[in-house]
Amino acid sequence: MSRRRDAVVRRGLRHIRRAIAEQPRMFALAFLASSLYGGMTVASAYVIGEVTDRVLLPSFEDGATTGTALALSSVAILGVALLKILGILGRRLFAGIMSYRLQAEYRRRVTGQYLRLPLSWHQRHPTGQLLSNANSDVESAWFFVAPLPFACGALVMIAITSVALVLTDPLLALVGLVVFPLVFAANVVYSQVMSPRMQRAQQLRAEVSEIAHESFDAALVVKTLGREDTETGRFADRAQELRDGLIAVGRVRGVFDPLMEALPNLGTLAVLLIGAGRVAEGATDAGELVSIAYLFTLLALPIRAIGWVLADLPRALAGFDRVTPVLAATGETPYGPDAAVPRAGGAGVGLRDVGFRYDDGGRATLQAVTFDVPAGRTVAVVGPTGSGKSTLAGLLVRLVDPADGSVLLDGVDLRRLREGEVSTQAAFVAQSAFLFDDTVRGNVTLGAPVDDDEVWAALRVAAADEFVAALPEGLDTRVGERGASLSGGQRQRLALARAVVRRPRLLVLDDATSAVDPAVEARILDALRAGGTPTTVVVVAYRQATIALADEVVWLEDGRAVARGSHEQLLADVPGYAALVRAYAQAEVPA
C-alpha cells in the first residue's frame, strides 16, 4: 500500500518534470513571477513591522510625527504591493498560458495520431474512449499546471520565511517549524484520502450520464411501452449513489477546509504567546512580532497551493495514462514513392491472393481472393452476412491493407502509391454516410477545386438536387453535426454526390443505397450507369436491382471468392447464390 503511494509520488514528480520540460520558458516566467510574489508577500509583512516599529509606535509615544515618515510608509506599502501585483499578474498569466499550451499541444498530438493511425487501429478503440482521450483526459493531465508555479513560489516563500524567522528569533522560528510541516502533512493526507473518493464520484457521474444517454436514445421505446416510471427509477438509483458519493467528497472537504484555516491561525496565536515573552525579555521587539504574526496570516493561501497541486496529481496521472497509449501507438500506414498513372477512363482493379484478418487473431475474414475487374466494368460483390464483402470494399481503396497478397490499381500495388494518390483515383461510399459539420458544398467538394455547376451536376446524379435546392440556403446550408439536420436518405445521397463529383476512375459502393427508397435508388443507379465516363464500379449489395446493374457478379462465401459470372450464370450454377438472391427477392416481392 505504502509502496504504491510512493510510486504515485514518484510518478507525480516525474509528471511535474515532464510539464516543466515541455514548457520551460513559460514555467520559468511563471516561477519568477511567483517568486516575486512570494518575496513581496514576506516583504509586505516586514514593511508592516517596520512601519509599526519606526513610525506608528514612536509617533504614539512622542505624540508627533513627520510628513516624511508618513509619506515613506505609504510609498513602502504601495511599492511592495505594486511589485506583488506584478508577481500575481505574471504568475496567473504565465501559469495559465503554460497549462493551456500543454493542453493544446497534447490535443494536437492526440488528434494528429487519430488522423495518422490506420483504420484498423480505430476499429479496435471505442469512439467514446477516443473522444474523451482528446478532450477530458488531456485536460485533466495538465490541470494541475495552473497552480504549479504558485506552489513552487510558496516553497520559496516558506524557505525565505524560515530563514527570516531563524534570523529574527530562533524560538519563534520553532513555531514555523511546527506549523509549516503540519500544514504540508495535512495536505498530503487530504490528497490521499480525497483522490479515491473523487475518482468514485467521477465514475458515478459517467454512469449517470450513460443511463441518461441510453434512456433518451430509447425515448420512443420507453414512451410507447409506457416504461417512464421504470426508467426514472433506474436513473434515480444511480443519481442517489452519485449524491452519496458527492456527500462523501464533501465530508472530507468539510474537515480539511476549517483545518487549513485553523492551523495558521493557531500558529499566529502561538507566535503572539511566545513573542510576548520574548519582547518582555527584550530578545525581540513589538514590530518584529507584528511582522511574523502578519506573515502567518498571509502564508495560509500560498501553502494551500501546494495542496492543490498534490490533490490533483492522481487525477493528472490517470488522465495522462489514458493519453499515453494513443501517443505511443504505432502502425502508421506506409506509403510508396509512385504516382498513379494518369489515364482517362476507368481504372483496372486486381486482387492477388488477398488475405485479411482482424487483429484480434480471429478467423480470417478473407482468404486467397483473386480476381480482376477490367477498366470500365461494373462488378457486384454478393455474399451472405459475414462473408467479408465490406472488408473487400475497404481493401480496394486502401482503408485497410491486406495481410497477404496485394491489391492492384492499374497493375500497381496500392502500397507503392504515394499518400493521397489512391483517393485521386478512387472514391468510396460507405453504408452509413458520414457528413462533416460544414455546408452542403463543403461536404460534396471536401476542399477539392470544383465549381458550383459541377456540384449541382453531382447532386443531380445522386438525386439530391431537389432537396438541396429546397434547403434555406441551398449549397451554403450547414448540415449540422454529422449532418444532423438531414434525414438518413438525404445524408446518403450527399455522400454519393461527394463520390460522383470527383469523377473517380474507380467507384466503390459498400451497400451505399440502403437508406434510400427503392424508387429513388433506381434513379440513382440508372444515372450512375448512364454517366459519360465509363467508371469502374464495384458494388456491395443485397438488392436485386443493384445486382442487375452489374456486368458481372463475384460470389463470396466464408472469405473466399467462390464463383464469378453473370447473374444468370450464378443463379444456374451456384446453389448458395440462388438461395440468397431468391430469399431476398421473396422478402421484397413474393413471387
Binding site: 501585483i85 498569466l93 494536437r108 434515480a236 472537504r253 452476412t385 421484397e588
Partner: protein, 611 residues
Amino acid sequence: MTAAGQLRDREHEGALATLRRGLRMMPEFRRGLPVTFALALVATAGRVVVPIAVQQVIDRGLGSPAGPDLGLVSWVVAGCAVVVVLTAVAVYRMNVRLFRTTETALAGLRERAFRHVHDLSVLHQQGQRRGSLVSRVTSDVDQLSVFMQWGGVLGLVSIGQLVVATVVMAVYSWQLTLLVLVCFVPLVFAVRWFARRLVQVYGVVRERVGDVLAAVSESVVGASTVRAYGVRARTAERLDAAIDRHYRAQVDAQKVTAAVFVSGEFVAAVANAAVVVVGVLLGLAGDITPGTLVAFLFLVTLFVAPVQTASEVLNEAQNAVAGFRRVLDVLDTEPDVRDPAVATPDRVRELPAGPLGVRFEHVTFHYAPGARAALDDVDLAIAPRTRVAIVGETGSGKTTFAKLVTRLMDPVEGRVLLGSADAGWVPLADVAFASLRARVVMVPQDGFLFDATVADNVRYGRPGMTDHDVVAAFDDLGLGAWLAGLPAGVGTAVGQRGESLSAGERQLVAVARAYVADPDLLVLDEATSAVDPATEQRLTRALDTLTEGRTTLTIAHRLSTAERADEVLVVDAGHVVQRGTHAELVDAEGPYARLHASWRRSSAGEPEPAR
C-alpha cells in the same frame, strides 16, 4: 405558446429570478437553511479573532505602563485559541450540512428533469439534439454541484466575513472603517464591469470547447471518410484551427481573471497605506491606540479576501446559473401530450375490452403553426383485427398517421378514437396512459435495444417474465432456432444499443418485445434498411405471428407487406388518396399502381422509363 419542438428558453432571465424559480422547484434545499446560515456567521468569528488578539497583546499585554503583562497575554491567546477551534467545528458542521442539502436537492432536481424529458412529447424530444437533453440532467447539474461545493461555501463564508470584519472595524474606529469603505467603492464598480467581461470571455471559451469537441469527433467518427477521400491534411487543419482558437480564448479569459484578482490586491494596498497615514494622525489626536491601528491592518486583509473571492467565484456562479436555467427550462416546458389520468382526472377513461379499431374524425396536423399540413382533414375508420398497410412516398404523412394513433402527438384539429362499434369508441385524449400503453404498442423503425441481455430487452415489454417465458415467446415467433444459435441464448448481452447484433437481429428482438407486451393494436414502422436475407425471412415469419389476430397498422416500405395486408391505405401529401386491397388497387388507375410498378422495377433491376 412555444413553437412546436422547442423547449422553453429564458436565456435572458436574471440570475436572481433563476434562483427564485429554482428554489421553488427544490423544496429539499430550503429545509434547514437558517441553521446553515447561522453556522456560516459563527464560522467567520474565528477569522476576526486573530486581529483582536494582536490588538489586545500589543495594547494591553505589552503596552501597559506597568511593563509586559504575560498573564494577560496567556489568557487572551488561550481564549482566542478556543474560539478558533470552535469556529473550525462550526465550519465543519456547516460544510457537511450544506453538502448534504445541496446534493440531495440536486439529485431530486436531476430526477425530476429526467422524468420530465420522458414526459415531453416526441416533438420536443426530437426537436432537441439528444446531447443537449442529456447535458441538462448531467453536466448542467454537475456544474451546479461543483459550484455549491467550492464556490457556494466560499461565497457564504465570504459574505459573513465581510459583515463581521466591517462590524469589528467599526467598533475599533468608525473613521478608519469609513476610509476603508471609501477605498473599496471603486472596486465594487470595477468588479461589476469585470463580471460582464468575464461572462463574455468565458462564453467564448465554452463555444470554442464545443468547436473542438465537434472537430475531434469528426476525426474519429469520420475516420474512414477522411482516409477514403485523402482529406487528412484538410481535417488536421480544421482541428488545429479549432484547438488554436480555443487556446486563444482561454488566454483572453485568463487575462481578465488575473486583472479582476489584481484589482482587489491593489485596492487593499491603497487602503493599507491610507489607514497608516490617517491612523497615525488619528492616534496623535488621541482617538485610537497603536494596537487598534495594527489590528486594523490585519482586518483590511480580512476585508479584501472576500472581495477577491467574490470575483473568483463570480465566473463559476455565472456558469452555474446558466446551467441551472437550462435545467429549469426543461421543467418549465409543458408537455403538450399529457396523461389525462394526471391532467384531467375527472374525465379519464379506460379503453374498452376486446379488439380495438381506429377512427379518425377530420384530423389535421402540422408540425409548426403555418407549416404545410402533414395530415389534412383525414376522416376514416379501421375495423378491429384488420391488418392495414399504409403506403406513400417519403414525406407523405404515413409516419404522422402512426404517431397520432399511438398518441405520441395530438392532432391540431379533429380527434382520434379507439374502440369498436360493439364496445363503443373512446377519444384517445381521454385514455389513461396506463391503459393506452398496455393495449397499443408501436414498434419503431429502429427497434432500440438496451445494453443488457436479450431476455432483459424482451422483458422490457412485460416486466416480471422469467427467462423460460422469454424463450417460449421466441419459440412462438418461430425464432427458437435463431435464439439457440446465439452464444449464450437469451442470456446473450446485446451491447450498447444492441450493436453486438445485426440490424435485422435487433428487429427480431424488438418484435419479440412487442409480442410479449400482447397489445390489441399494433403499429409497425417498417425498417427501410436492407438486412441479410436469412434474417429477413425470419423477420417476416415472426411478424406474421405477431400481427395474427391484432389490429395492425404498418408503415410499409416493402411491396410484400402491402401485398399481404388486408387493406392498403395510400397517403399522398397529407390525404388518404386510395384505399382497398392490394388486388383492387394494383390494377386501378392511381398512385398505388405507380408505386407498385416502381417497387417491382427496383426489385427486378429494370431501368426506370424516361420521364
